[in-house]
Symmetry: D2
């Protein structure tokens, strides 16, 4: 708890809010009950002026609706709803539009779409996202796929909607700003939140060279805590930055010593440790 | 219920058993409670001399262990445990061996591995399956990937273990028998169970030409109720064969009229309707 | 040359013929002139009662037609025509049907379709193969994809045509026979041709257990000389079996010592060395 | 020829140079002789102060070296060398580093690496590109994969080398500038070269909103002439813009009327026609 407080005190000044139970929050490994308990705990700890998003996606439409309602009751400001994916052969644009529309209709809080093909092996089709952006209770998309052409197209085709495109990973955050994304939801912010905020400030101030140099130094650490070493890598890095990472749940394994060394190298060689 | 009884009375004579909550059972769309209720209902309906397998895989190791224990209490003879897949970047052979070993150690009933890349975008690595086959409480593998070279290799490398390789789909069942699989767990058996049993009998009797002709006539219907039209297709077909399919849960959609026509064509052109 | 003669004398008794410039023949690494010279040399060396197929596929339709005509002049009995693949986004069923029809119309020798997704990242669509099977100058398909369900469907849907389905790799040869393939074109035959012939004889004689055991022992050696170590692996293995493999052309690299050991292990552990 | 001259007169003012026989130049469909003739023709037509790059990649190292030498003789200023890909299983980082090093050693003109996974189903590994960037005769990379995170990392890791990272497609050109790319080689420049130049000028002038709006309007036309309708789409569009596109060679097919309409829509809806 003490270290958690340290974390909360170090970041709120620059971050607009937090996500509970996105992919990095290990949502698929928690029980329904645990998911709600974590949400309630964080809601109490986080100041009211910070946005709190709750991952509430389940495979079934009905399950997603129920989890979204409960997350709202537990204090979430918005719901981050990952694409269902197990029966991916049936997850056509039509099916996904139907799913998200049902969820948005039922949800007491705004819905943010969430496309993360590295985990789901499924990309929310661009045309489905464009249709869904017209729904008044669907307010944005977290896109972790890294295809910045697609991000630009989504911004372009939803420019008349009240719809926010958000970069889903820190590796392409600066590029995403360039094409019109308004922000990012980044696993890396758990350890390097301040530099991510600084990069946005540099970008908005027109200090492009500094922004680019900062982006460059963030790519390898970001890869290390996402695709390369995953949540286990992020939790290890959190320890180095004074937070409490703790172990992952199985079947995710802790890093080997060799992996810890490589992870550390990705931070030290870029000047972060 | 009346039609369910009809189904049960028509198939048990040739099928060795049943699976509750495999992929076709829409397990990811049921609550924990519903999964157990379905299991209990089927256990009461199915004669004791038929094997009853329960899908009990969850994303987390702990969740899988608990679901397996509950399924055993509800009367399952064995557990069919699908590979966890959401954090697929971390699902190395080492992680999956650790996962299944923990589950097998804790499970009061035998464990059957389940690899279904069409749904999980992850194949249980061959070398992991070979290691796991040595565990006394892991008794087999349902492999739905359709790579019969791999099936043959698995049979070859586990020949000294008490381990059964099972074809996970009817399209390659005859070929799987040829390379040493001992049976199959097939969605198509929900509508064409008798011909599948007949194909095995023909094969065991050395009547290869007849077995092959039968296999040929089963491929298109099988594709139709799996990768082409999925569970919605199977449920529609069940209606035609006198069973009760009913609707899928959302986000899976019912078939369009055009799809129903194509589905029917796949059965009629092969002489099944 | 002496060793080449040894090879020719050891295999013709059981093999129906040979392929020059399939994938394993490194066709993409030879000049047009070299391709024809190799063909002429082999035509002189191989007895006339053995079929000689020439790989003649190029990216363009016109190029394929010209190479096919030249290969026919050089003595090829049939042309093995791989799918063009560089502009794979445009290689629709319509485009491929058009391509192969043009080639078959122009070719003085029968055409065998060749689908090898491991090399081309493109599978000749099943529906295209079924349409093409109706052409009088298209006589078969070498399918190296390993999807035996597809092989069975192709046999089923072309049963009224004069069209032969051939397994493109030794790993699934027995399974392919089971579903109606009439033979195979296998890289492994360069070193283990006799056992492949024997497997077919056992299969035709109804000695299934022996055929299966033989198939099992061939899977690992086949993987080793195809997907695992590729042509470099096959050429190394040829040295062990008394043939002359020689080096691959760059950019393919010779095996490292560690790879040679692993390759050898795949043969020795299955009783072939 | 008249229309070709028109094209040459309309673009040179802003473009730094031209590529002959990149993917869009249909290089795989030309004979060796044709490739050189096209190069010679263009060299005569293009002013000497414009860079002329020649696609010279072949599957074999030796073939690539010879084509590179001939292209240099025909007047190419630099060689654009696509990754070999047919034996992709063997195209490891080690093999590709060996290949490109041999080519760069032998080449009388500077070498530009070319990674285009949409066509080759192979990405030049990042670590291989970083090693190759150290070679004095390897001066850059055209990367068409669209992964801007990777582009940023490549710029970061080669900052001490004389090495240029170039965006390989217009859809992510602005984002690529943001992370340090110095330019682009874009199929779309065949029809919308002037707006692409203008986007760069806006970017360098710090007029970000205008640059972004321009980028947005270029995404759909770019998709239309690349992944959606390919070279056939580009050639059709060239007709509309007063150039001479002409037909593609088979097996690429001309567009259907419906496709022409969709293509036109992608240009008109973005204000280009």
């Amino acid at each position: 708890p003490g270290r958690q407080d340290a974390w909360l005190q170090s970041v709120p000044l620059c971050l607009a809010g937090f996500v509970v139970q996105g992919s990095t929050g290990e949502a698929p490994y928690l029980t329904q009950q645990e998911r709600l308990e974590v949400m309630s705990y964080v809601r109490q700890a986080v100041p009211k002026d910070k946005l709190l998003l709750a991952g509430s996606g389940c495979e079934s439409t009905q399950g997603t609706i129920e989890m979204t309602e409960r997350m709202a009751e537990a204090g979430a400001d918005a719901a981050l709803v990952v694409t269902p994916c197990y029966f991916r052969g049936g997850m056509t644009s039509t099916a996904l539009i139907h799913h998200y529309t049902q969820v948005a209709e039922a949800s007491p809080i705004p819905v943010v779409l969430y496309s993360v093909p590295a985990n789901t092996s499924l990309e929310l089709p661009t045309e489905a996202a464009i249709v869904l952006a017209q729904h008044p209770n669907i307010v944005g998309l977290k896109d972790s796929g890294g295809d910045v052409t697609r991000l630009g197209l989504l911004v372009h085709k939803t420019q008349n909607e009240d719809f926010q495109v958000l970069a889903g990973s820190a590796g392409f955050l600066l590029a995403a700003y360039t094409v019109g994304a308004v922000g990012g939801i980044c696993a890396l912010a758990n350890v390097l939140g301040a530099p991510l905020c600084q990069m946005e400030r540099l970008w908005r101030a027109g200090r492009w060279d500094e922004a680019r140099e900062l982006q460059h130094r963030l790519i390898e650490p970001n890869m290390a805590v996402t695709r390369r070493f995953g949540i286990s890598g992020l939790k290890q890095a959190m320890e180095w930055f004074g937070y409490s990472g703790g172990p992952c749940r199985a079947p995710l394994l802790p890093l080997t010593e060799a992996q810890v060394s490589e992870l550390r190298q990705d931070f030290t060689s870029n000047g972060w440790l």
